[in-house]
Symmetry: D3
Subunit: 149 residues, 6 copies
């Protein structure tokens, strides 16, 4: 049944799907050596489920996923700033998986621990102590990304 | 101590409690054959804790639990529509357990995967990308309900 | 400066903008006769600001606005159901303007007062008494849409 | 049409409606002398809309409204404590009308300004600086309730 | 009664209060010439209520207000970045007054309209279409700050 | 690197850190005998991560953590009331770890099960059925604290 779905998909969507699939394989292969289980498990589950979701071929959802990626592309503001914006928004909305995703991107952008703590500070002040449990898990994940557990 | 509590409960409350208890046993027995561990574990924990809560006999809580059930009964709108309303509300409020509960009910109502993805689409657009991690877990649970892992 | 912005816009975006502009004029003209001040003011402010936003030509934002419209188009689920999904999501997230927008669409879809109250009931039960003040304003707006003040 | 609705209502619901109606009249009459416009307007709009809502006779909604009242009745905890619980919950959820309602009740319970500020402190620390604008409006309303503008 | 309260305040708190008071006067005087009524009214109400709050001398609240100011001071990240973080957090949490406050600070930091729209884009994608009504009001306020109505 | 950080810390912050460290050891030792694994694991993870966070020496964060503790100190309202306020706020904001923390404190204050259920009732009515899954986990944790599993 899934095969039939894939076949009737328009070219652009199909390409997007394949890209996501290959991307997640490369990502897993590449990161398995240097990264912790916590990081790997998160990336693998995320990749696997995104693939299933895109394969369903709901137009609105696939376009939203595509738009989400474009949002953090370099523009008037650099990627580094946009990723910090995504991180602080995820923290005040208290979404652990979103926090992890943006922490990974922030690490890729070379953001330092001192900088990331200033993002954490804004999130905790704006969002209140209710953010603290997510902050604790964010610190744990950041350390795993840094290989400094 | 729990026994004493049960004894002094008025008839109606006591009946409600027994019903919930028997219901959860039948449910477990009936579903264990065809459903996945994820679905079973969710239903068992939910049944066990609801039973404990109702046994405490706090009037406001027991009435709210009762009212909750009535909310999704057939009326001017059919059960199918009401369960989709419950699902989309649970998704934008990002409550995984509530999502699971309504996905189970939606499956019982014969809602198709294509329909459920349109509910997911509304939830993701209204609630934003912050909903996506819950959406991933919803897709996983929906597949387990469908026996299509 | 705004003129320059408009000129360099790609065809599709420019078309979208013009459509939104004309649409809001027609809407205002058409509705002014039969509708209340509350409804008119809401629609006019909404139309005016959306126009300004689209004119800024931020790709991500313009695509999200476009995607938002597509979300409620007829698909596996009818428009009527999707608008009720949008309404209940707006209520539990307690967004008065979003509630008004979907109430207007629900009225267009011929949803009855009895049906709309069942949507309100789901919203109040799922979202709690914190939804009630928004519920009160929704009732007031629904009456103005119905011309039954 | 409204009349027909009222007639077919069961006795209990009808009684509840009448009580709410008379209550809001007495309340308005009683409070108009000593209270500010801000307080009066809030109470009048609230009373008028609640009456309309109850008249619609949706079972789930009318029972929820009834249950809401019972929640704050004296029990293992005194009314004073329960009203402070309602206030802090309303503040962290940032619902101005809910805050006003519970501030009115707290004033009735003889809660002092020093005590109310300690409730405000918990709300601001738990909910973060995002609560501050609601806190400002709460302080304004509290002063109007105290006749100390 | 207020006078007595002010007198028994420790030196540091009293200084903080006076500073806030003088600051709000200078601010009003300075901005009245170049800014719109919308901006002035917001700043005046905010200044007046903050003053009342600080005068109450609740230790937790006064320290939180002080800490709030420190959060956006230059550190590992520049003020400009921190104000954008505060803005995006305020938008996804849908707090109009917080949005206004940070928009004012962003204008002071020389952030351009193109940059601010990229912050708006992140907020709308992360927080969903529920953010749009706040986005509209943010655009209106930004235009008033820019003197470009 | 951590050592260097600790050395350059000002005296007050360093003291705070050591206190938190010793406190968490004593806490663990003291509670291990009488408490369940669920309670122990929560307290240990919380203690370990708080220590790491404070060691980073971000001024805003360390002050917020300090302020958080002061918020629940005895004042015009007793600790017992403040802890119930913290609990109800945590429940309506649906933060499991915050709920657990305040449940622990409520148990220390001698709050009875009947009283705690009245706090739960307010939380469920104000926050809606979306609170129920957190309520279930709160009941489980409360039982473990009471040694009554």
């Amino acid at each position: 049944m899934l095969r039939a779905k894939v076949e009737k998909k328009p070219a652009a969507e199909s390409y997007l799907l394949r890209f996501a699939f290959i991307d997640s394989i490369i990502l897993s292969a590449h990161k398995k050596i240097s990264m912790s289980d916590l990081v790997n498990e998160f990336n693998e589950y995320r990749g696997k489920m995104n693939e299933k979701i895109l394969a369903q071929n709901n137009k609105v959802i696939n376009r939203l996923f595509n738009l989400d990626t474009n949002t953090y592309a370099s523009g008037a503001l650099p990627v580094k700033t946009k990723e910090m914006l995504g991180l602080v928004a995820s923290m005040v909305l208290r979404c652990d998986d979103c926090i992890r995703y943006h922490l990974g991107k922030c690490k890729d952008e070379g953001i330092t621990t001192e900088e990331i703590y200033e993002v954490f500070a804004v999130a905790n002040i704006v969002g209140g102590t209710i953010v603290i449990p997510h902050f604790r898990r964010a610190v744990e994940y950041w350390e795993e990304l840094s290989g400094a557990t």
